[in-house]
């Protein structure tokens, strides 16, 4: 079980990351870099919440793999299974 200090440290890091992402969203750099930075910040925040707030880092490896890989692989499989059909439908009328 994490200490109270860990929770409030995580809270501080989440706020800093959020602020950084808001600033990055309006930065004068290429759109590709902005999107890459925002996605990296988003994944970092999600990892912090899962690990420290939801205590996933204190669970057995079996549960961690089931939760993380379950979500990531199923979401990717669904997306790549459905996206080609979406593209095909978009081009049906052309």
């Amino acid at each position: 079980m994490a200490s109270y200090k860990t929770y409030w440290y995580t809270w501080g890091v989440l706020l800093v990351l959020t602020l950084g992402m808001i600033l990055a969203g309006g930065a004068a750099i290429s759109k590709v870099w902005i999107v890459a930075l925002l996605l990296a910040g988003m994944l970092a925040k999600a990892t912090l919440i899962l690990a420290n707030f939801m205590h996933l880092r204190f669970e057995r490896v079996g549960l961690i793999l089931t939760v993380v890989m379950g979500i990531v692989f199923t979401a990717l499989a669904l997306f790549f299974g459905i996206a080609p059909d979406g593209v095909r439908i978009l081009h049906l009328g052309q």
């Binding site: 808001i22 919440i49 707030f53 939801m54 669970e59 079996g62 379950g70 979500i71 979401a75 997306f79």
Partner: protein, 204 residues
């Protein structure tokens, strides 16, 4: 004849049987529910991403949102997650007063978030946005916006109700020892989903 609990404790992690994840069935069921719910949101967000990539244009975010206001909503939700985590930590340490205080603070955060979301929705609806049309030229935008933020908002509302029940049980001394942790997992999940919605809708 061995006791059932001894048999469960002796089983190897990968041996299957009683407790391969070494968590209670309630906690395991909560995790399985959250994985299923996460996939539902993943489906919505993937569909939104696809529609956005396929659309030749998309409304400029500054036309529709006040980023400072959304940042404040995010701050409130992250803070409520921190108070909930503190409640769970206090529950593990047996500090019942702190658990109740932190759960009540979490409820305040949840209600404030819902109020702000209602205000944001009202502003957009007054500006002419609906599920099938909006003044910014891309009908998909408001369809996805109301669907996804509404679905998330309904999760926040459910969370506030569950937290209210937990607070009442804590106050009367009828809460299970494990309840704050299970409710906490749900509340953090609500915060986790908002991290994705905030980035994909309001920042990109």
């Amino acid at each position: 004849m061995k006791e059932a609990s001894q048999v469960i404790g002796m089983e190897a992690t990968w041996g299957g049987g009683g407790s391969p994840f070494a968590v209670s069935w309630r906690k395991l069921m909560m995790w399985i529910f959250l994985v299923g719910d996460a996939l539902l949101f993943a489906g919505f967000l993937a569909s939104y991403g696809f529609a956005r990539l396929a659309s030749p244009e998309w409304p400029e975010r500054s036309q529709m949102f006040h980023l400072e206001f959304i940042a404040l909503m995010t701050f409130i939700l992250i803070s409520s997650s921190a108070t909930m985590a503190t409640a769970v930590g206090a529950a593990h340490r047996g500090d019942r007063k702190l658990v109740l205080r932190c759960v009540l603070l979490t409820i305040v955060g949840g209600v404030a978030f819902l109020g702000m979301q209602a205000y944001e929705w009202t502003s957009l609806i007054r500006a002419g946005a609906s599920l099938h049309a909006n003044p910014w030229g891309v009908p998909h935008f408001s369809s996805y916006f109301f669907l996804i933020t509404g679905f998330h908002g309904s999760h926040v509302l459910s969370g506030v109700i569950i937290l209210g029940i937990l607070a009442a049980r804590l106050a009367s001394g009828r809460a299970r020892e494990e309840s704050p942790e299970l409710v906490g997992l749900y509340w953090h999940f609500v915060d986790l989903v908002w991290v994705f919605i905030f980035t994909l809708f309001y920042l990109i």
